[in-house]
């Protein structure tokens, strides 16, 4: 425990010492709904983090990480968020791409890609969803065709809901490499440079006005022969494994942000008199309860040897936090009352307004509510699977 406290102090001190000067502007910025805010400065910040060896701290030491324990990683996330550390531009590389390469990549791939992630100089994005395969991952239509001369793969199709594609250097793409294959078979997992002919990125304007997501169009774009992860045809397995690397540690940092939002709501309610409303008070209390439960839920899910029960509970986590956060957005606006509708430069209000709007995406991206409930029912409770239709 005391070691953890010392570590906590180390993180806090570093953040206090470094999130200053030109970086002070980044405090509490770049969160959900404004993931595209201040991109250049946030990339610089990633390099600052790298200098402090705070990128990829959970990676094994032999790959350049600190090999932190789960508990230490949680502490890092909490202190990072508490200090107002900005939304991480390097999140996909650090949390998803890196661990996947460490597990499945070739030595050459590790050597070429891990340093850029560690140094905060190369940024990754994710090419999974497609227009006709929103929640239906087996329905991927993007095709990869091997160029018989070079062995490279030529990719055509469209990916959608790609976070920060316009600010990234590389994308990993799941595509269909075997003609006529369906569902989980015949997929390939490719690493592709974005700055090349045949790739077009169209930002998607969101409910709150920002454009964090993009459509990425491929028209004969090229992935090098040596940039396949795993074997052609093995893409499903790699893609699923990648998603599994999200162990939910970052959620404890996310919860710090939620706590700050809730504190802000309480503060504003005290100022504008909304705290005199018994209904608002009960909703604020309920939000606190939900957040506290979320914390313990996450802590139970981090167990190294989860029981059937904690595994089942773990499936509930995404549904719980996303709906909690969505409701928090409404509470914030109800506390603001008519003022909530007015856009102003008043930063506390603006943060809550953006949260209200963008939290609507929380229950959709990364598996909609409906998909989550299917998963909980089928995998968690063992209820019958939903039949696939034949339209």
């Amino acid at each position: 425990m005391s070691d953890l406290n010392a570590f906590r102090a180390e993180v806090r001190d570093w953040m206090n010492a470094n999130l200053t000067g030109k970086f002070a502007e980044l405090k509490f910025r770049g969160g959900s709904g404004e993931g595209d805010a201040l991109p250049d400065l946030r990339k610089e910040w990633e390099q600052e983090l790298a200098r402090g060896r705070w990128t990829c701290p959970g990676w094994p030491a032999e790959h350049g990480g600190r090999g932190l324990s789960v508990a230490e990683q949680v502490v890092f996330q909490e202190e990072y968020s508490r200090a107002g550390g900005p939304g991480r531009m390097g999140h996909i590389g650090e949390g998803l791409m890196g661990p996947t390469l460490i597990a499945f990549g070739t030595e050459d791939q590790k050597k070429r890609f891990l340093p850029g992630i560690l140094n905060g100089t190369e940024f990754w994005c994710q090419g999974y969803s497609e227009p006709s395969a929103g929640s239906d991952f087996g329905n991927i239509k993007t095709r990869a065709k091997q160029d018989p001369e070079t062995g490279d793969w030529l990719v055509s199709g469209q990916k959608v809901w790609t976070s920060l594609a316009h600010l990234s250097d590389w994308i990993f793409v799941v595509a269909r490499c075997e003609e006529g294959s369906v569902g989980r078979n015949g997929l390939i997992f490719l690493l592709m440079q974005l700055a090349q002919p045949g790739v077009e990125i169209h930002p998607i304007k969101q409910i709150g006005g920002g454009s964090e997501f993009n459509s990425v169009f491929f028209d004969g774009a090229r992935a090098k022969a040596e940039d396949v992860v795993g074997q052609p045809g093995d893409g499903w397995r790699i893609a699923m494994a990648l998603l599994g690397f999200e162990r939910g540690i970052s959620t404890l940092g996310q919860q710090m942000g939620f706590q700050q939002e809730l504190d802000l709501i309480v503060e504003i309610a005290k100022e504008n008199g909304a705290d005199r409303s018994p209904a608002i008070r009960q909703r604020v209390a309920r939000a606190w309860i939900g957040l506290r439960a979320m914390r313990y839920l996450a802590m139970r899910a981090l167990s190294d040897e989860p029981s059937t029960e904690t595994r089942r509970e773990g499936l509930a986590y995404k549904y719980h936090w996303s709906n909690w956060h969505r409701d928090l957005g409404r509470l914030a606006m109800d506390v603001l009352g008519m003022d909530g509708n007015v856009v102003s430069e008043y930063p506390r209000r603006e943060r809550l307004q953006q949260m209200f709007l963008f939290a609507r995406a929380d229950t959709i991206y990364g598996g909609t509510n409906e998909i989550q409930l299917n998963i909980i029912a089928e995998q968690g409770l063992g209820m019958p699977r939903e039949p696939r239709g034949k339209l």
Binding site: I207, G209, R360
Partner: protein, 380 residues
């Protein structure tokens, strides 16, 4: 005993629906929202001048059609379903009833006539339009001058102010009585448009920095009573509730259409039973809310005012909750595109939150009902 639309009402409804479907399309709304305009000028001209909707509930003696709350609720519902960007609610439900209830005979003749003729958009600058009783506080002081009055004060948010041809300002006189002043848009007041999340209904602030106005600007029949305000506000609440259920229906129709087409896992989304049940529950809520709105509209003239006021409070509660839920489900059931700017759910969603904040929260309306049921005047 049986509650149904008369053939005339049915006809008004069908024609208005057809008209709005064509004229207040998604493109039309976006022309207003994306450019930050105050309203759809063409649509407003059609509604007010060509179709005579503003004349509906104005008494015949002032050039109106002398119809009632039901007809206005029908139009408000349809305007809501298309998020029509026009100052219809403020003119017909907020301002006209106040003039009728508290205006002098001259004011009625002049302004109700102009409204009925479609010549005028009017709004009211209540001090706090988010309050269950917006007339309880007054933000403007009126001091008598040799030629009229001097008005002093600021109202933070006035709906449709930037588009209105005239604003009615409740002001406190030195003797504590409340008067109404009618200021034309060229009257010298300072109007500042606010940037709002719900771009379908413009809001502006009103500043009256010691504005000198002529005595004729005062339009009340001699100090406005609480009952006069209350009567006018019942109408405003009923109209808003009707608009809200309309917006809910609009969001729901859009959603049903989308999920009937969109295929996931080889099936339309509409074929999933969990989705069907959620839609069915929304249909139940719509049935409940619409019944209450039109029941309250029908009873408005007949039942006693207290009973009617409570029904309208109830209508606001169910309408506000329904509108939010319908918009929330619209986003959710549209999936990924649901939170994009390109698709329409966000327009309904933003409108839902903004409308719920007007004229009293659900909690405030339920407090009123509970106070009446327990006969104790409010929370002890």
């Amino acid at each position: 005993m049986i509650l149904e639309f008369t053939p005339d009402q049915q006809m008004i409804r069908e024609e208005a629906e057809r008209f709005l479907r064509e004229q207040s399309s998604s493109q039309a709304i976006r022309r207003v929202v994306d450019t930050g305009s105050t309203h759809d000028v063409e649509l407003w001209t059609s509604i007010s001048r060509d179709l005579g909707w503003c004349a509906m509930a104005i008494p015949e003696e002032f050039g109106g059609l002398g119809l009632g709350a039901t007809e206005v609720a029908i139009l408000m519902e349809l305007a809501g379903s298309r998020l029509a960007c026009v100052p219809f609610w403020s003119t017909v439900c907020l301002a006209a009833p106040l003039i009728e209830s508290a205006g002098s005979d001259e004011a009625k003749a002049t302004y109700l006539g102009a409204i009925a003729a479609g010549e005028m958009a009017v709004t009211v600058a209540y001090a706090d339009l988010s309050a269950a009783d917006p007339s309880a506080t007054v933000a403007v002081q009126a001091a008598r001058t040799p030629n009229g009055y001097r008005l002093d004060g600021t109202v933070g948010q006035v709906v449709d102010l930037a588009v209105a041809d005239m604003v009615i300002v409740p002001a406190r006189l030195e003797d504590g009585a409340t008067a109404l002043f009618a200021l034309p848009s060229s009257g010298g007041q300072v109007v500042t448009s606010l940037s709002v999340i719900d771009g379908t209904r413009p809001i502006a602030s009103l500043e009256l920095p010691g504005l000198e106005v002529a005595a004729e600007c005062r339009i009340d029949s001699g100090a406005v009573t609480g009952d006069q305000f209350a009567k006018a506000l019942r109408f405003a609440n009923l109209g808003l509730a009707a608009e809200q259920i309309g917006a809910a229906q609009g969001a729901f129709d859009m959603t049903l259409a989308y999920i009937s087409e969109r295929v996931q896992f080889g099936r339309t989304i509409a074929s999933f039973q969990a989705i069907k049940h959620r839609c069915a529950k929304l249909a139940v809520d719509i049935a409940e809310a619409r019944s209450l709105v039109f029941g309250a509209a029908a009873a408005m003239g007949q039942a006693d005012a207290g009973e009617s006021a409570l029904e309208i409070c109830g209508a606001r509660v169910v309408a506000s909750e329904l509108q939010f839920l319908a918009a929330e489900e619209a986003i959710q059931l549209h999936g990924g595109v649901g939170f994009t700017w390109e698709y329409d759910p966000h327009l309904y969603f933003k409108r839902a939150q903004a409308s719920a904040a007007l004229l009293g929260s659900c909690e405030a309306h339920m407090d009123k009902i509970a106070a009446a049921m327990f006969g104790d005047g409010g929370r002890p």
